[in-house]
C-alpha cells in the first residue's frame, strides 16, 4: 500500500469504483500512484474475485513500474492486464483471436525500415509507379517514400480498411499503392505497427461475440495519459465497452498533451469520453512532486497551473552560454558539482544525489550532439550516462549478428521477402522469391559470395540456427555458444567487440522478455513480437539524456533543460496558435520532470548545418522569467 493524500484516496475509490470517470490530474499529482492504488483496491476490496482489470498505459516503462508496485497483489498476473494499447491488442486480441481474421499464424511486425523496403520495391517493380520514381534524385525518392509512409500510417490510424477506400478523396494511384502495399505485407505474413490496432479494431467490431468476451472479463478499465489518446485507441476502447460497459477511468493532463503529430488529441478525453460514457470529471491540481521554485516556473509557462505549498523550495537557474560547446561544458560542470557534493539539502533534510538522479532534457535529439562529445571525452562521465531511445530500432554493430538476426526472421516467418532480400544482398547471392529458406540458411557457406564473411563464422551461425529451429526456446543457449565460439576465434579484435556487445544486447532483451512473459511462451517468435513492442532501450545507468517526449512520465531530482532557444522550443515548425500551445505543453512537461532543481541553458549562437553561425534568442517560454520568482 502506498500513502495517498485524502484527495488522491477519494479519487481511487470514487463512487465505489462504479461508472465512468475522468481524472484531470496535473503533472506531479500522483497519476501513476492513483492508477496503481485503484488497481490494487479493485482486486483486493471487491469480494467477487472473478473479474479482471485492464490498465492501458502509454509506455512499457509505465506499465512495468505499475506491475512492480503491484507485484504482491494475489494473482495480479491473471487478474490484471497492465500494458500499452499495442501490447494488449497484439498479445491479447490478435494472437488469441487470429482465426477471426483468417490467420493461422499471426503476421510478423515490420518496422519502419522494413516498410520502407516494401514500398521501395513496389516503386521499383510495379510499372504503374516506376515512372514516378525511377528517374528521381535519390533524395527525392526518399521523400516520396517518407511521404507515402506517412499517408499509410495516417490512414491506418484512422482505421481505414480497404473497403473504406471508396469514401476517400484519394487519387486512384494512391488507392492502388495503398492496396499494393497491404497485399505485399499480407503475402509475406507481415504487418506494421499501425496494423496491430487496425486488426484488433476489426475483430472487436466485426465479431460482437469476441468483444463481449473481453467486456465480460475486464469489468474495470483504466487508461493512463488519456490526453494523448488518438482516434484508433479511442475507437478500440469504445468497441471494447460496447453499450453496456462504463466502468472506465481515464487519467490525463491536458497541459501535457504533446503528441498531436501522432494524431493524438485531448478532445477524446475531454469531449468524447464525457459525452459517450457520461463520465464524471474530477480534477486534482496539486503537484506533489516538484519544489515550489519548479512549480512557479511551471506556472510561468502554463498560467493555469495551481501552485502548491510544498516542503522544498528547490532551485531554478538559467545558464546562458556563448555557444553550444560552452553550453555543453557548463552542463558537465553542473553535473560534476552535484556529484561531488553527493547530496541536496534544504531545511535540514538531506537527499543523496547520484548520476541517475540527474537528467538532461532537450526538445530534439540533435541538441545533444555537443554535449555527447564532451561527455564521451570525460573519463568519469563517459561511462555514466545514457541516451534514452524513443521508439527507435536497435541495430546490430556486427555483420554476423545482423545476419544471425535476419536468419531468425526467416525461421519464424518463411514468407518474409524483405529480409530474405536483405540476406541475399548482404551475402552477394542472387535474390529469388522461391529460394528455400532453410536450405539457404543451413548451407549459407555455399550461397555466400561475399568474402567479408569468414567461413567458420558462418558455420557457427548455421549451428545456431539449427538449434533455434529445433528448440525455439533456447536463444540464451545459442547466445552463450556463439559468444564462446566467436570470442575464441581468429576474428579481428574490433569485430569480436562488436559481437560481444550485440550478443549482450540480445541476451539482456531476452532476459527482459522472459521476465515479462509466461514461461511457456518463451520462443523466438514471441520474442520478435516483444522486441517490436519494446524497442525503447532504457536500461542505461547514470545520467539520462532524453528528449522531452521520451521523458514523459519520468521524474528526476535534478533536470537540466538545454537548448532553450526560439526555433528549438517552440520548434520553428510550430506556426499556428494551436501548435504553439502544444510547444508550451512540451516545455511544461519538461520542467515538471524536476523534483528539486532545474537548470535551463541556452547558447546565444548556434552553428547551423550549412556552416553559418546564427544568433539565438531565448525561448519565449522563459523570456520574462526572473530567477527570483520562485
Amino acid at each position: 500500500m502506498e500513502n495517498l493524500s485524502k484527495e488522491q484516496s477519494n479519487i481511487v475509490s470514487y463512487n465505489n469504483f462504479e461508472g465512468a470517470l475522468l481524472v484531470q490530474a496535473a503533472a506531479g499529482s500522483g497519476k501513476t500512484r492513483i492508477l496503481t492504488e485503484r488497481v490494487r483496491r479493485l482486486l483486493t476490496d471487491i469480494d467477487d474475485k472473478f473479474f479482471s482489470v485492464l490498465c492501458l498505459t502509454f509506455t512499457n516503462k509505465a506499465a512495468e513500474e505499475m506491475k512492480e508496485r503491484l507485484h504482491n497483489v494475489p494473482k495480479i498476473r491473471e487478474r490484471a492486464f497492465i500494458g500499452t494499447f499495442h501490447e494488449f491488442c497484439l498479445g491479447q486480441i490478435l494472437i488469441k483471436q487470429k482465426i477471426e481474421l483468417g490467420f493461422t499464424e499471426i503476421p510478423h511486425i515490420f518496422d519502419d525500415n522494413d516498410k520502407r523496403k516494401v514500398l521501395e520495391n513496389i516503386f521499383l517493380t510495379n510499372d504503374i509507379f516506376t515512372e514516378d520514381y525511377v528517374g528521381l534524385e535519390p533524395k527525392e525518392q526518399q521523400r516520396r517514400i517518407d511521404g507515402f509512409l506517412k499517408v499509410i500510417s495516417e490512414a491506418k490510424r484512422n482505421l481505414i480498411t480497404e473497403s473504406d477506400l471508396g469514401t476517400l478523396n484519394w487519387s486512384d494511384k494512391r488507392k492502388r499503392l495503398y492496396r499494393e502495399y497491404n497485399d505485399r505485407m499480407f503475402n509475406q505474413s507481415a504487418m506494421d505497427y499501425d496494423d496491430i490496432l487496425l486488426y484488433a479494431y476489426r475483430i472487436l467490431t466485426e465479431r460482437p461475440r469476441i468483444s463481449s468476451l473481453y467486456r465480460r472479463r475486464y469489468k474495470y478499465i483504466l487508461v493512463d495519459e488519456a490526453q494523448d489518446l488518438n482516434y484508433s485507441q479511442y475507437q478500440i476502447l469504445k468497441a471494447l465497452c460496447g453499450n453496456s460497459h462504463n466502468n472506465i477511468v481515464m487519467v490525463g493532463d491536458p497541459n501535457q498533451a504533446i503528441y498531436s503529430f501522432n494524431g493524438s488529441s485531448i478532445k477524446y478525453m475531454q469531449e468524447y469520453f464525457i459525452k459517450d460514457f457520461a463520465a464524471v470529471k474530477l480534477e486534482i491540481q496539486k503537484n506533489y512532486r516538484s519544489s515550489d521554485s519548479v512549480l512557479s516556473l511551471a506556472k510561468h509557462i502554463k498560467n493555469n497551473v495551481e501552485i502548491g505549498n510544498n516542503f522544498f523550495k528547490g532551485k531554478v537557474e538559467i545558464v546562458i552560454a556563448n555557444n553550444e560547446s560552452e553550453e555543453a561544458k557548463s552542463i558537465v560542470s553542473i553535473i560534476k558539482e552535484y556529484i561531488s557534493r553527493g547530496i541536496y539539502s534544504e531545511k535540514e533534510v538531506t537527499i543523496p544525489i547520484s548520476y541517475s538522479d540527474i537528467a538532461v532534457i532537450a526538445r530534439n535529439r540533435y541538441i545533444f550532439k555537443h554535449l555527447q562529445n564532451v561527455l564521451d571525452s570525460d573519463d568519469e562521465l563517459a561511462a555514466n550516462y545514457h541516451l534514452r531511445q524513443g521508439n527507435s530500432n536497435f541495430k546490430y554493430e556486427s555483420k554476423y549478428i545482423n545476419l544471425f538476426d535476419l536468419g531468425l526472421r526467416l525461421i519464424v516467418n518463411p514468407s518474409d521477402v524483405v529480409h530474405l532480400r536483405q540476406i541475399c544482398k548482404d551475402i552477394y547471392t542472387k535474390f529469388d522469391v522461391d529460394l528455400d529458406r532453410r536450405d539457404l540458411l543451413l548451407n549459407i557457406n555455399q550461397f555466400c559470395k561475399n568474402n567479408a564473411y569468414k567461413e567458420f563464422a558462418l558455420n557457427q551461425l548455421v549451428l545456431s540456427w539449427k538449434t533455434i529451429i529445433e528448440h525455439p526456446n533456447r536463444l540464451h543457449v545459442v547466445i552463450t555458444d556463439m559468444k564462446k565460439s566467436f570470442l575464441s576465434s581468429e576474428l579481428s579484435g574490433p569485430e569480436q567487440l562488436k559481437i560481444d556487445y550485440d550478443l549482450d544486447q540480445i541476451a539482456t532483451k531476452w532476459t527482459n522478455f522472459q521476465k515479462a512473459t509466461n514461461p511457456k511462451q518463451h520462443n523466438v517468435s514471441n520474442f520478435r513480437h516483444y522486441l517490436a513492442l519494446n524497442s525503447s532501450n532504457d536500461n542505461g545507468n547514470g545520467v539520462t539524456l532524453s528528449t522531452i517526449h521520451a521523458s514523459k512520465g519520468l521524474e528526476f531530482e535534478v533536470v537540466i533543460l538545454m537548448g532553450l532557444n526560439e526555433g528549438v522550443l517552440p520548434s520553428y515548425r510550430a506556426k499556428t496558435n494551436r501548435e504553439i500551445e502544444e510547444e508550451r505543453n512540451t516545455a511544461y512537461v519538461a520542467v515538471t520532470r524536476a523534483k528539486k532543481c532545474i537548470h535551463m541553458t541556452y547558447p546565444i549562437e548556434r552553428l547551423m548545418p550549412w556552416g553559418d553561425v546564427k544568433k539565438q534568442t531565448p525561448s519565449r517560454f522563459i523570456k520574462n522569467y526572473s530567477q527570483n520568482n520562485g
Partner: protein, 624 residues
C-alpha cells in the same frame, strides 16, 4: 487408439469389451487434467496391426464448453471460468469454448518426452504454431481424479495423497486455537491416565528414563504417549469404523473388499464436496472430474444400484467405466458410450436423441419471444435451423422409452456384446445356443462376446436394431419366413440400415418348427416330443387323441385313415400341430435332441439355414 473422439455428459458411462479402450481413454484425459498425473511412456503410443508404432507423438485434444443447469450448451462462460481461461477463450457459432491440445513427443529411443499445450482456435483444424501455445495455467481449477478398480479405503486412510488423506490432513487447520489447546490438554490427561493405569506402560516409562543418566542430561525427560499429542498428526491414527445393522461396530480393515471399495468412493465424494465449498469461498474456480473404473467391483447388485445413485450426486463431471448390467440399467441411455475395436483401433458409439436439440430449440425460441427484435432473430434463427437438421434421424422420446423398457432394464448385458444374433421364438432361444456350441467346436456364444437374443415376436426387432445401430454392434437375424413376417422384419431393418445384405436369414416357413420338418428333422422332433411326454406319445397317442378336433382357425384335424390307422401323408401336419400345441414345453427337448441328428458321414447335422447363418457369423468373427 487412433483418431478417437468422444463427447461426454455430466455423467458418462463407458461400456465395451475388455481392451476396447476404456482405460486408455481415462488415462489420456488424466494426462491433461489429472490431479495426480503419471508419466507417459512409449507404451502409450499407437500400435498398428503389425505391431509398429508409426508415430513418435500423440495428441489429446479437449474442448470445454459452458452448459446451463440442464447441461445444455449455453453461449457464455460464467465469470469464474473467464477468469481461469482468460483470453484463451474462443468463440464459435454457438458461443464460448475453451480447447487445448496436449501433445507428447518422444525423442530418442527411451521414454524421454516433451509435452506442450496448445490453445485450439478451430476445433476442426488444430494448428501448432508457436503463437498457439497455451498462455494460461488451468492449475487445480479443473481437477481430474482417477480412481482405478483397485481402490480400498483401508489403504487410503494411510496414504496422504488419497482423497481421504487429503481431506483428513486439513483437520488441523479446522480447529480454532482455543479448541486445539483444549484437545491437546485432554490428550495429555488421557496419556497420563493410560500410563498410570497400565503396569506395562509404567514399566516402560521407568526403564526408558534411564536414557537420561547415560546422556548425563538431568533436565530432559522421557515420556511415552500412547495417544499422539500432536494435533497435526491426528489424521494419521484415524480409523474408520463401520457398523453393519445389528452387528458390532468394527474397523474397516475387517470388512470385505466391497465395503472398503465403496467407502473409498464415499470418501472421494466427501473430498470433492468439501473442496467445492472451500475453493468457492476462496474465490477460486473449481470443477472436479471423477474418472472411475468399475464402480461395481466387489459389490452386490443392490449395492451397485445404490452406488450409482450416489455417483450421480457427486459434484462436477463423472466418467465411469463399467462391466455391470446393474450399473448400466441405472444409467440414462444418453449417458452411455459404447467403446469397441472393430479393426485395430478403438471407436466410440452412442445413442443419439432428439431431446437435447429440442430443448435447445425451445430455449432459443423463448429468447426470441422474450427479447424480441431483429437482432435476436438474426442470431438465433440460423442456430435453430442447424439444430433442426442435426435432429434428423435421431431417436425420439418414444424410441428411448422402448429401448429402456425392452432392453436396458432387463437385458443390460446386450450392451456389452460384440455381436447380436436376434430371433423370434422360444424354440430358437433354447436351440440356438446349443447349436452354436456344436457348430463352434464346443465354444459358447459368450466366449466370442456374442449375445443370442430372442426378441419375443416378429414386430419387436425395432429397439434391438436401434441399439445395434447406434452402438455400432453388428447383428444377424434368424427370422421366420412366411411372407408377412419377412416383410415386417425387412421393414424394421431398413428403417435403421441402408445396407443389410447377408444379415437376415429367413426360414422360408411359418416358424422354426415348420422349418425343421421341412429340413428333414422329423425324427429328431418326434424323439424330442416323446422324451417330453413319454414314449409313443407321438404319433400314436397324439393322432388318435387329436383326430377330429378343431385347430384354432376352425379347420378340422384329419390324421387317421378311414380304417383308423395313421395317414402317413398327414404325419408332418400332425407333427407340426403337436409342436404348436405346446411350444414352451417341447422347446428344451427339441433343442437337445437336434444335436443327436447325424448326416451321411455320421457327423452332427444342423439345420441348413442355421448353418448358413453360423458360417456368416464365423466369417465376421474372423475379420474382427
Amino acid at each position: 487408439m487412433k483418431n478417437f473422439e468422444i463427447d461426454l455428459e455430466r455423467l458418462t458411462v463407458l461400456v465395451g469389451m475388455n481392451n476396447s479402450g476404456k482405460t486408455t481413454f481415462l488415462r489420456s484425459i488424466n494426462l491433461v487434467f489429472g490431479a495426480n498425473k503419471f508419466q507417459p511412456t512409449r507404451d502409450d503410443l499407437f500400435i498398428d496391426s503389425e505391431g509398429n508404432q508409426p508415430e513418435n507423438y500423440f495428441n489429446i485434444d479437449v474442448r470445454v464448453i459452458p452448459v446451463n443447469e440442464k447441461d445444455i450448451r449455453k453461449a457464455e462462460f460464467d465469470a469464474e471460468w473467464l477468469s481461469v481461461f482468460g483470453n484463451e477463450i474462443k468463440v464459435d457459432e454457438e458461443g464460448d469454448f475453451f480447447a487445448v491440445r496436449y501433445k507428447v513427443r518422444f525423442s530418442g529411443r527411451g521414454d524421454r518426452y516433451k509435452s506442450s499445450m496448445y490453445t485450439i482456435s478451430d476445433w476442426n483444424n488444430v494448428t501448432e504454431n508457436e503463437d498457439d501455445i497455451l498462455g494460461v495455467t488451468i492449475g487445480e481449477a479443473i481437477s481430474l481424479y482417477y480412481i482405478d478398480a483397485q481402490r480400498d479405503l483401508s489403504h487410503d486412510v494411510k496414504l496422504r495423497h488419497s482423497y481421504f488423506g487429503k481431506l483428513a490432513s486439513q483437520v488441523n487447520d479446522s480447529f480454532d486455537e482455543a479448541s486445539a489447546n483444549k484437545i491437546i490438554e485432554e490428550i495429555k490427561k488421557l496419556n497420563e491416565t493410560a500410563i498410570d493405569k497400565s503396569e506395562v506402560l509404567k514399566h516402560l516409562q521407568t526403564r526408558l528414563a534411564k536414557l537420561n543418566s547415560t546422556s548425563g542430561n538431568e533436565d530432559g525427560g522421557v515420556s511415552i504417549s500412547p495417544f499422539s499429542t500432536n494435533v497435526r498428526d491426528l489424521h494419521k491414527g484415524m480409523k474408520v469404523n463401520y457398523q453393519d445393522g445389528k452387528s458390532d461396530k468394527f474397523s474397516l480393515e475387517y470388512h470385505g473388499m466391497g465395503t472398503r471399495s465403496w467407502a473409498s468412493l464415499l470418501s472421494f465424494k466427501a473430498f470433492t464436496s468439501w473442496e467445492i465449498g472451500s475453493k468457492r469461498s476462496q474465490g477460486e474456480a473449481y470443477f472436479p472430474i471423477l474418472a472411475l473404473e468399475e464402480p461395481e467391483a466387489h459389490l452386490h447388485p443392490n449395492a451397485q444400484r445404490t452406488l450409482y445413485k450416489q455417483l450421480s450426486e457427486v459434484g462436477g463431471q463423472k466418467i465411469v467405466s463399467t462391466h455391470s448390467p446393474y450399473v448400466v440399467a441405472q444409467a440414462k441411455l444418453e449417458q452411455l458410450r459404447h467403446l469397441h475395436k472393430p479393426e485395430d483401433c478403438c471407436r466410440v458409439s452412442k445413442f443419439e436423441f432428439t431431446e437435447p436439440e429440442e430443448l435447445r430449440i425451445g430455449e432459443l425460441l423463448k429468447e426470441i419471444e422474450d427479447i424480441g427484435g431483429t437482432e435476436i432473430n438474426r442470431k438465433n434463427r440460423p442456430i435453430i435451423e442447424r439444430l433442426k437438421n442435426s435432429k434428423r434421424g435421431k431417436l425420439t422420446k418414444e424410441d428411448k422409452r422402448k429401448i429402456e423398457r425392452e432392453i436396458i432394464n432387463s437385458r443390460g448385458e446386450i450392451l456389452f456384446a460384440k455381436m447380436l444374433i436376434l430371433f423370434e421364438g422360444e424354440t430358437e432361444e433354447q436351440a440356438i445356443p446349443l447349436l452354436f456350441k456344436e457348430y463352434f467346436d464346443g465354444q459358447d456364444a459368450f466366449d466370442f462376446g456374442i449375445s443370442l437374443v430372442g426378441v419375443g415376436g416378429k414386430s419387436n426387432y425395432g429397439s434391438f436394431l436401434k441399439l445395434a445401430k447406434y452402438l455400432d454392434i453388428p447383428f444377424f437375424i434368424l427370422s421366420d419366413g412366411d411372407e408377412n413376417t419377412e416383410q415386417e422384419v425387412v421393414a424394421q431393418v431398413s428403417n435403421e440400415y441402408d445396407e443389410y445384405e447377408n444379415r437376415i436369414f429367413v426360414l422360408d416357413t411359418y416358424d422354426f418348427e415348420e422349418y425343421l420338418i421341412k429340413d428333414s428333422f422329423q425324427e429328431v422332433l418326434i424323439s424330442g416330443i416323446n422324451k417330453c411326454r413319454g414314449s409313443n406319445y407321438f404319433p400314436d397317442a397324439y393322432c388318435n387323441e387329436q383326430h377330429g378336433q378343431k385347430r384354432k382357425g376352425g379347420e378340422v384335424k384329419v390324421y387317421l385313415k378311414d380304417d383308423g390307422t395313421i395317414d402317413a401323408s398327414s404325419i408332418d401336419q400332425a407333427l407340426l400341430d403337436c409342436l404348436h400345441s405346446s411350444k414352451t414345453e417341447f422347446a428344451p427337448y427339441i433343442a437337445t435332441e437336434i444335436l443327436t441328428s447325424r448326416d451321411d458321414n455320421n457327423k452332427c447335422r444342423l439345420p441348413t439355414k442355421v448353418v448358413e447363418l453360423f458360417a456368416e457369423v464365423r466369417a465376421k468373427i474372423v475379420i474382427e
